[in-house]
């Protein structure tokens, strides 16, 4: 991590005073202004990022950097679901940084009026008309970092099947077709591990006509053998519920309440 020395910081803020345009990032300051201070250090590449736009403090004119896109999303860092805006590098398609969404009442107080255009919303990151103070949109330290999990080098992107006993940490990649075939049709799917047990897949368990426990009819149909455990209310469980509750016909859909 780069540590910003206090002296350097002071010089930087001095630089913004009287400048005609305020960049949204550090490098923007030195690029957009022609103020030169003797001995002012070059900012290390890793500290500054190219800015998404510049805003003229007097006129409020917004100049968008065409190499960068700003897109809105919702943070799940702690399940509070704050609104975020992601700065995305058009060339690499990667997220560079996250900030708060000024339209979102959790992140700005007061929130930016909904009819404000996206272009004008950039002003909320500047000091033009004090918008950056009144509609400052924030996310917490966690919220700033959530995008890093997207680029986790250990991320799983291929379907995997266990290649040892459960929990042994041994896996093998399988094709999409094999994943669907084996989980739907079941059978002796662990035969290659020396286990000849016949496992029922989705097709067999999806059954409204037979009881899951004939001795206790109140337990309901065999479909209840599918148990779905889902995280908290994060905005896409309705899709899974459509499948589990209303199409598969299992009563066993769980959110995250008891733990």
């Amino acid at each position: 991590m780069i540590k910003l020395k206090r002296r350097t910081f002071l010089k930087l803020s001095a630089l913004t005073v009287g400048a005609t345009a305020l960049g949204l990032g550090v490098t923007g300051c030195s690029k957009e202004t022609d103020v030169s201070i003797d001995g002012f250090p070059d900012m290390p590449e890793t500290l500054g990022q190219e800015v998404e736009a510049t805003v003229d403090l007097q006129s409020g004119e917004v100049k968008i950097n065409s190499d960068i896109l700003v897109k809105s999303s919702v943070c799940m860092g702690c399940y509070s679901s704050c609104g975020v805006r992601a700065k995305i590098d058009k060339k690499t398609g990667r997220i560079m940084k996250l900030t708060g969404n000024p339209y979102h009442p959790k992140c700005a107080e007061p929130a930016l009026p909904y009819d404000t255009t996206i272009k004008e919303s950039y002003q909320a990151f500047s000091l033009h008309g004090d918008k950056g103070l009144t509609h400052r949109a924030t996310v917490c330290a966690r919220g700033n970092s959530t995008f890093e999990q997207v680029y986790d080098p250990m991320r799983i992107t291929t379907p995997l099947k266990r290649a040892g006993e459960r929990g042994s940490g041994k896996w093998k990649p399988i094709s999409w077709e094999q994943l669907i075939e084996e989980t739907v049709e079941g059978g002796k799917i662990f035969a290659e591990l020396g286990d000849d047990t016949v496992i029922e897949g989705f097709r067999k368990i999806h059954n409204q006509d037979e009881l899951i426990n004939p001795d206790s009819p109140e337990m309901g149909p065999k479909s209840n053998g599918l148990v779905w455990i889902s995280g908290g209310s994060y905005g896409r469980i309705n899709f899974a519920q459509r499948f589990v509750l209303n199409s598969f016909g299992s009563t066993n859909f769980y959110g995250h309440t008891g733990t």
């Binding site: 700003v70 897109k71 809105s72 999303s73 702690c78 399940y79 509070s80 704050c82 609104g83 997220i95 969404n101 979102h104 009442p105 009819d115 330290a141 966690r142 700033n144 970092s145 959530t146 890093e148 997207v150 250990m154 991320r155 799983i156 992107t157 291929t158 995997l160 099947k161 459960r166 990649p173 999409w176 994943l179 669907i180 989980t183 047990t197 496992i199 897949g201 097709r203 209840n224 053998g225 599918l226 148990v227 455990i229 995280g231 209310s233 994060y234 905005g235 896409r236 499948f243 209303n246 199409s247 598969f248 299992s250 009563t251 066993n252 769980y254 995250h256 309440t257 008891g258 733990t259």
Partner: protein, 723 residues
């Protein structure tokens, strides 16, 4: 709860001297401490109920409740004096052992009449009257009424609440929770000196095995002041826009062939043990019906952890396919990650098939048979409803702001994800509601559900036209947000004229009503009138399925017990286990999914076992020392942090650390070893330390019987120095 918004509003209120802030927590955290302003009240873990009931005792002793409000026996009466909620304080309950409807509310049939109402003692006439007919009822009546066949002993809900509260003196409550009687009185006084402008809230602190009476008592406190739905008082979440519903544009709720699920949930919740065949058979055979094999949680809700215990015990029936999706119960459920539990989890004879949908090797995913790669939060679609502290109408939107990293598969060329997997499975089996002709629009035309967009973009269209339609995106905004070049299958998911409004919502991250719209005069704008119950007939008529004892209908101080009623303090005396573990949310970790973020690793690399300086001194323990935390069920190593901000007798362990998978371990894929990153597993986790309930046969983590909530706060423990 939105922590950002809550923190901002609290700090603002405190700094403007409009708000007094007291933090009642065994574990004082930075951020809740506004220097010179915050009052910290260190409470012993899992004794919160004693504080709340102590406050109520003071309120009853000093008659500081809002009697005029409480006397209102129905909504109209309350409205007439300026409130937007009412209570059942005056409603009569039968408290007559000999009466067949003992423990239930007095109903017209008990008096030989018809109808479904309640009775009060009319304040004007002193006689029983229907609650809808009276404008005020007697608050603390305890006596008899003339019934169908004789007199019936009755008492009001408020009388029963007060009677329960008076089982202990304020001094006794103080002794239990470790807060002085004076301080309890002081908080109660402050609480009742602002009329209806008071509010309470709680979150994870309720995870203890005496959580229910505490939570009920806590919600009753503001009702005693009439605070519900009042400006400055208690507010619920604001409403959402229609999205996945039968919306103005598309019906995403109903489809042809739709099934209404039936039967008992495997988690043993929302169902009375007395209605099971197991119970009926025992009674028919002349056997004692109690205990049931595992406890039944009549008042539980969506208990994922209990579903896991059920699966491991194949009770009340077998789980055939367990799907874990965007969840991590093995890390998140107290006592699930323990040797005895894992042995059962590994057996395919218990759970034949485990499928996990995940982006990384989570603790639960590590026990799967198959892993379906998922999209990350920034690669997926989601319509996010309002969470607490925001009271206006809003729905936020997540959409794939970057190209998903999972490969594209199938005839629709979709990235692998939970949705892609479910569509494929449903289509292969021929399940209803997926594939061609799955979704009906408002004109009756059928649309396919073959891609994620087929579903989620329609949900945004519903949002856009709910009430007054939102404006379309401007041409300039369309361009600068990159929405002018969205893929053609996004566009194909809705009618062309809907695209411009949908894009405006996507660009702005959702649809938000102006945040100035919180109030409607003296009321909260979106608070529909509520009825707050001081006595619950439903609770009072349900039983503990292990002991057969009836539950209490009004909250009373309840010490923690095992399911069979044995006091936890008796089973594990404090001489042997002097500490209680409590958990908190770390500021730089998520619920269980941010251990792979390098920035957070750098900013806060580990957690500690946090202990009060006086406790440490007494035991001769030092800051930074390595110790073993031993509980009756498990043990774990950690490093001590000695500080003042922890209640005496408490061990603070923050959540999100002490992980053992999540990419921290070596994994073998196709025989090749992928080296784990140990930084992801630093610190200590409290859940594996939680107690197993040995009073129950079978593998079962200590839980509260009525609600099924777990033993996360209050885990009995001792500390053994290692260095």
């Amino acid at each position: 709860m939105s922590f950002q918004a809550l923190a901002r509003k609290t700090v603002k209120g405190v700094m403007e001297n409009k708000l007094k802030l007291a933090v009642i927590d065994p574990f004082m955290q930075g951020g809740t401490d506004i220097p010179g302003k915050t009052k910290w009240i260190p409470i012993k873990p899992s004794t919160d109920g004693a504080l709340v009931l102590g406050m109520m005792r003071w309120i009853f002793d000093n008659e500081k409740f809002d009697g005029k409000f409480l006397e209102c026996p129905n909504e109209e009466a309350a409205k007439a004096i300026g409130f937007k909620s009412y209570t059942n304080a005056t409603h009569l309950v039968i408290v007559d052992e000999k009466h067949p409807n003992n423990r239930k509310f007095l109903k017209p049939e008990d008096l030989g009449l018809e109808g479904e109402e309640f009775f009060v003692i009319d304040k004007k006439t002193g006689k029983p009257e229907l609650n809808s007919k009276a404008s005020a009822g007697n608050l603390l009546y305890n006596g008899e009424v003339q019934g169908k066949t004789g007199t019936i002993k009755v008492a009001t809900s408020l009388y029963l609440l007060k009677q329960g509260v008076e089982r202990h003196s304020i001094d006794e409550y103080a002794e239990i929770c470790g807060i002085s009687a004076n301080q309890i009185a002081e908080i109660a006084k402050e609480f009742t000196s602002h009329g209806h402008k008071v509010a309470v809230d709680t979150l994870g602190g309720t995870n203890s095995v005496n959580a229910l009476p505490f939570t009920v008592a806590l919600w009753i406190l503001p009702a005693l002041m009439g605070a519900y739905n009042m400006k400055g008082g208690m507010a619920g979440n604001g409403p959402s826009f229609k999205a996945f519903a039968d919306g103005p544009k598309y019906d995403l709720a109903a489809f042809e062939g739709q099934i209404k699920p039936s039967g008992v949930k495997i988690s043993r919740e929302q169902f009375h043990y007395e209605n099971t065949t197991e119970y009926k058979n025992k009674v028919a055979q002349g056997k004692k019906p109690y205990p049931s094999k595992l406890p039944w949680h009549t008042n539980g809700m969506s208990l994922d952890g209990q579903a896991m215990f059920s699966a491991l015990n194949k009770y009340p029936y077998q789980c055939k396919i367990l799907v874990n999706c965007f969840a991590n119960p093995i890390y998140g459920t107290p006592s699930l990650y323990q040797e005895a539990m894992l042995e059962e989890l590994k057996k395919t004879s218990n759970i034949p098939l485990i499928i996990s949908v995940d982006i990384v090797m989570g603790e639960t995913t590590a026990y799967a048979d198959y892993i379906v790669p998922d999209t990350s939060i920034y690669e997926q679609w989601a319509m996010v409803p309002v969470r607490a502290n925001i009271n206006t109408k809003m729905t936020a939107v997540r959409y794939p702001i970057i190209e998903p990293m999972t490969p594209k598969v199938g005839s629709n060329n979709q990235p692998i994800s939970m949705e892609t997997y479910l569509i494929e499975v449903a289509k292969k089996i021929g399940m209803p509601g997926f594939g061609d002709n799955a979704i009906k629009d408002a004109d009756g035309k059928m649309w396919p559900l073959n891609t994620r967009e087929d579903y989620f973009i329609k949900a945004i269209a519903n949002m856009a036209y709910d009430g007054d339609a939102v404006n379309g995106i401007t041409e300039e905004d369309d361009k600068i947000t990159g929405l002018d070049s969205i893929p053609s299958d996004w566009q194909a998911a809705i009618k062309p004229d809907e695209l411009f409004v949908v894009k405006n919502i996507i660009a702005k991250g959702g649809r938000f009503e102006a945040d100035t719209n919180y109030h409607d005069g003296e009321f909260m704008k979106y608070g529909d009138p509520v009825k707050v119950c001081f006595y619950s007939e439903n609770l009072a008529n349900s039983r503990n399925s292990i002991t057969g004892a009836y539950n209490e209908g009004a909250p009373v101080w309840t010490p923690e017990t095992l399911a069979d009623g044995t006091l936890v303090d008796k089973a594990y005396p404090s001489e042997e286990y002097p500490f209680r573990v409590c958990s908190s949310k770390a500021k730089l970790r998520g619920v269980s999914m941010l251990n792979n973020c390098p920035t957070l690793q750098v900013l806060s690399d580990t957690n500690y076992i946090e202990i009060n300086a006086s406790d440490a001194k007494e035991l001769g323990l030092n800051d930074g020392q390595e110790v073993m935390v031993e509980t009756p069920s498990n043990k774990a190593k950690g490093v001590l942090k000695v500080r003042q901000g922890v209640a005496r007798g408490s061990l603070g362990i923050s959540f999100g650390y002490g992980k053992w998978e999540y990419g921290s371990k070596d994994t073998t894929i196709d025989g090749k070893v992928i080296t784990g990153e140990s930084l992801r597993a630093t610190g200590i986790a409290s859940n594996p330390l939680a107690l197993i309930d040995n009073s129950v046969k079978g593998k079962y983590g200590l839980s509260e019987v009525i609600t099924g909530t777990h033993n996360r706060n209050g885990i009995r423990a001792k500390i053994v120095p290692l260095s």
